[in-house]
Symmetry: C2
Subunit: 667 residues, 2 copies
Amino acid sequence: MSDLADAAKRLLLGRPVRSDRLGHTLLPKRIALPVFASDALSSVAYAPDEILLTLSLAGLTALTISPWVGMAVVLVMLTVVASYRQNVHAYPSGGGDYEVATVNLGPNAGVTVASALLVDYVLTVAVSISSGAQYAATALPALRGHETAFAIGLVVLLTLANLRGVKESGSAFAIPVYLFMFAIGAVAVVGAIRYATGTLPAAESAGLDLVGEGSLENGIAGIAGGFLVLRAFASGCAALTGVEAISNGVPAFEKPKSKNAATTLALLGGISVAMIMSILLLAGATGIRFAEDPAVQLLDGGVPVGEEYVQHPVISQLSAAVFQGLPFMAVLVAVVTGLILVLAANTAFNGFPVLGSILARDGYLPRQLHTRGDRLAFSNGIITLAAAAIALIWAFDAQVTRLIQLYIVGVFVSFTLSQLGMVRHWTRHLATEPDPKARIAMKRSRVINTIGLAMTATVLIIVLITKFTHGAYIAIIAMVAVFVLMKGIHGHYERVRAELALGADAEQAKALPSRVHALVLVSHLHRPTMRALAYARASRPHELEAVTVGVDADDVERLRAQWEEMGLPVPLKVLDSPFREITRPVLTYVRSIRRDSPRDLVVVYIPEYVVGHWWEQLLHNQSALRLKGRLLFTPGVVVASVPWQLASTEGQTGLEDPVRGTVPRGY
Amino acid sequence: MSDLADAAKRLLLGRPVRSDRLGHTLLPKRIALPVFASDALSSVAYAPDEILLTLSLAGLTALTISPWVGMAVVLVMLTVVASYRQNVHAYPSGGGDYEVATVNLGPNAGVTVASALLVDYVLTVAVSISSGAQYAATALPALRGHETAFAIGLVVLLTLANLRGVKESGSAFAIPVYLFMFAIGAVAVVGAIRYATGTLPAAESAGLDLVGEGSLENGIAGIAGGFLVLRAFASGCAALTGVEAISNGVPAFEKPKSKNAATTLALLGGISVAMIMSILLLAGATGIRFAEDPAVQLLDGGVPVGEEYVQHPVISQLSAAVFQGLPFMAVLVAVVTGLILVLAANTAFNGFPVLGSILARDGYLPRQLHTRGDRLAFSNGIITLAAAAIALIWAFDAQVTRLIQLYIVGVFVSFTLSQLGMVRHWTRHLATEPDPKARIAMKRSRVINTIGLAMTATVLIIVLITKFTHGAYIAIIAMVAVFVLMKGIHGHYERVRAELALGADAEQAKALPSRVHALVLVSHLHRPTMRALAYARASRPHELEAVTVGVDADDVERLRAQWEEMGLPVPLKVLDSPFREITRPVLTYVRSIRRDSPRDLVVVYIPEYVVGHWWEQLLHNQSALRLKGRLLFTPGVVVASVPWQLASTEGQTGLEDPVRGTVPRGY
């Protein structure tokens, strides 16, 4: 890479960080909360909206039950937070659900959890960024119609920020997260006071009529209506997706890691619950009408409002009503909400690479994902996550309502298996724990995890039933694909490990080939050829031949004459090539040497041009590269590249390659 | 490549052909005529249409002058054929216009001609195939709207046919070309007889009114009208594009090559001229109305016919009228015309790779284009041509009227420079030729070429003036780009040749490095490492070290313990890597060795996994490959790959690679 590109990379990503500074990137609670909890908190920006618009299909009266749906979500949230506080204490290593499931339920359960989480991390980025782009388009009408491009641009920016490293991301993201908490808190408090004093104005959409879907004429009373309520609940459970990010991120916390993580988890649960309920209750109090298809479902004086009606998100409508007369507050809420959504995706950018790296360490993903790149971030994982999220945003046109149907399945697969694993964990430990005090704590933990298991399994079933045909099947297919891929990679690495291991034949492996037979490939007699000959001679092989492939009789004759004229002390062998090939005659000759003296080592010296520009590569080396590739398939052959640095490489030292941190752990 | 892919290639392309069978692929005149002349002949299928529709812009009366425009084209055709008969005698080597221009006007003129011809070959394929697709859509209405995809499919089929080799293409294509001559001949003869006997029916469009463009209300009388007539003439000159293909294809003729080529050229000229004039005259006699924009320009009872009107090509309308009552004859003419257009593209498939190969031999294109592939065809050139033509068809929606605006410029650039070159050629030879008889023949030839020069230069100017803004500028930009590219490649090869040549220092180049310092890269102690160590030891270097990069202290300790336990007689050196890199510490160490002993040769042995499937490559070797790439930039270093064939390579011998004929001529 050129100096310029290197400089640009430094500018964007900062200077590389030494390994021994790894400890410095740990997070105190006040930074860890915004970094890891922004996902769960930010879902306040779309989860209530999805509850309301799903219920809207059953008509206006259905909206009134939204606080009850919200309560159900809150119940699940509190149970799951309580359960995961047990997890972070029992498994502080950051493997999170993957580790819990692997240790207690076996590798297949672990890989299932990992597949589910990887897919859900991608969806977290896609949903949060898409929702953020929609908030931005509400605020800046010029963005309308370009949400997809805008969302993809945001993912790219986030990717660069994360390639700079964890800590700096945390600091940069803490302020907006706290601002968001303050903003939603202000809406809730002011709204509650104005409601109590009877001065709460109606929302902008309160004057509209809302009609449901024709097939749901009984509202939420019938079977279809009940199903709809469950679907609204399932969408609302998007609020839970941040929880497992904390349990996977324990190693990034300051010591005591587990305790700090558990506290952060409890804080997250409390804040999240308060926000969701405030918003749903205030939405009812201000009479917000929120529809899945506003153009048709919302009526103004009996007439559908049509395509030009812009349905602002619930939080925007709420803050406009609550802060009537204080327009700058409404603007602040909208801006901060848009911002927090973008930052929420950062949770996944912290969680995904860590999980990917653990999976790579265990041989389920390519070793490259275990590489710490510049700035100690897991660069490859970050880039993989970004690419997948961009593909998803592009495929779904950045539409939150469509993306959210794929969401949550993975998280609840992971929740359920993790809680099952925790139940097993306590049962196993109880079998050997003699201390009665510890036994009581363990039994208490087991009860909490059992309740968590029952709750998350129930939600998983509800999510699967209500969302399968709406898009969850896509997420399931993706998980199965990731599962199969990871099992395949693992099987491959295991086979290779067995193949390479030194076994009983370790001493035998020290045996040397009896003789070295060197060949120098010659096409013309020029300086690279002379260098290859000199190097081959300097290595003093037992036998040395120059080999050329005879395609054109005149060329061969000319070469032979030059050879003799130069008086080179190496015999020149001409190989026939009736089909005008280079590769096959050489391979055949090498094989014949090996056949005649199977214990000999054949070293093939190939002069190779080293070029300074990629396009020069197209003009040279085509035959040499193909031959090299094929020779490597022949046992007992060493391919020695003798480089000739063309003048265009001047100033390139081989040291300026800015790709760092290429550490193949494993092998 | 797998056996299956190899078998599929054999099935499509046939078995490879030995060099000594090259003579067997020469063409007798009866095959050469259809192979090389089908382009010029087939332009009868669109050139009259383009003359008529261009004139149509000036209204109905303008159509009546079409035979005069046709006569002008015929005049140019006869002049050019006469001129080129001189060329094929003087330059029988197949370099054609490129060779003539290079020898007589210098390399820049030659490269200009070559650029022009390469671009025009691509356009020949694009125009012929697009026109063929339009004929097919006329016959098969189901194809309408899918012309582009159909045309691209045809190019792919032609490409495969040509990769099989020249002769088989010739035989396969001869029959349809002769059928086409017969069909058009039948239309002309039967049409003439029926006209003479007063029984020639009117064409299907004869009853329609034709209105011109508003801006051309004076018809062809004004300046704009005159300009339009010149543009119609320029389009009609598309009929000349086949001529230079024969002069470039002389080496493919049977002996006496030049005489046979000249005869074929004369035949082509005669047949082509007869066809064009017959069609234009019969079009007038049957009252065909042919418009550039038929939906608007054609009126039925004073009302525009609208978008649903299908304007059949002139030949289709003619044969329907001439063979009224014999519908199968009209169908035969349409089918054969469609077929000949597809086959016409084959002319370019014969000419382009030959020219590309000559240019590659002279160092103006990458060496790979000089490679004869399977079946003795110039595979790389064929594939390049096909790719460019497909891009053009795709970009212009397979619309002949738009593509034809780009056409012909190149051919007339080449014609003009070639004729200028021929005039110089005769002048030069006359200066030294003493034989009076030979001098008379030469002077006659020079007169013919001078007339040819005047004629082609005039046409070139007309084409440039009338078509520049209609699209010719694109062709000119493409030619300039190709010119610059070829000069750049040539400059590069020249620089490299000078750099590599053995000069006064030839003896010095024989000097050997004083000592060999071998390094074996070690990451783990497994079988590939053991093999690399054994091979390195067998080569008996003056110094041998095992080198590992210390990233993780535990890993290093484990390796060191294993090393001692195995009792390996090679010292293990650990390189520090504070930034967790592999490449940089190794490069730095190699450089330090070179600095301490500049006359030593450093051989770096790298164990490398050889995998059986491409995706396995993603799972291995990433660090090794990057390191190898960087090491090659360091002078005095040989990189020795010690392959370890993983089990997945079993059955792969390195011999099954079906890419043949990789002969780097030059260097």
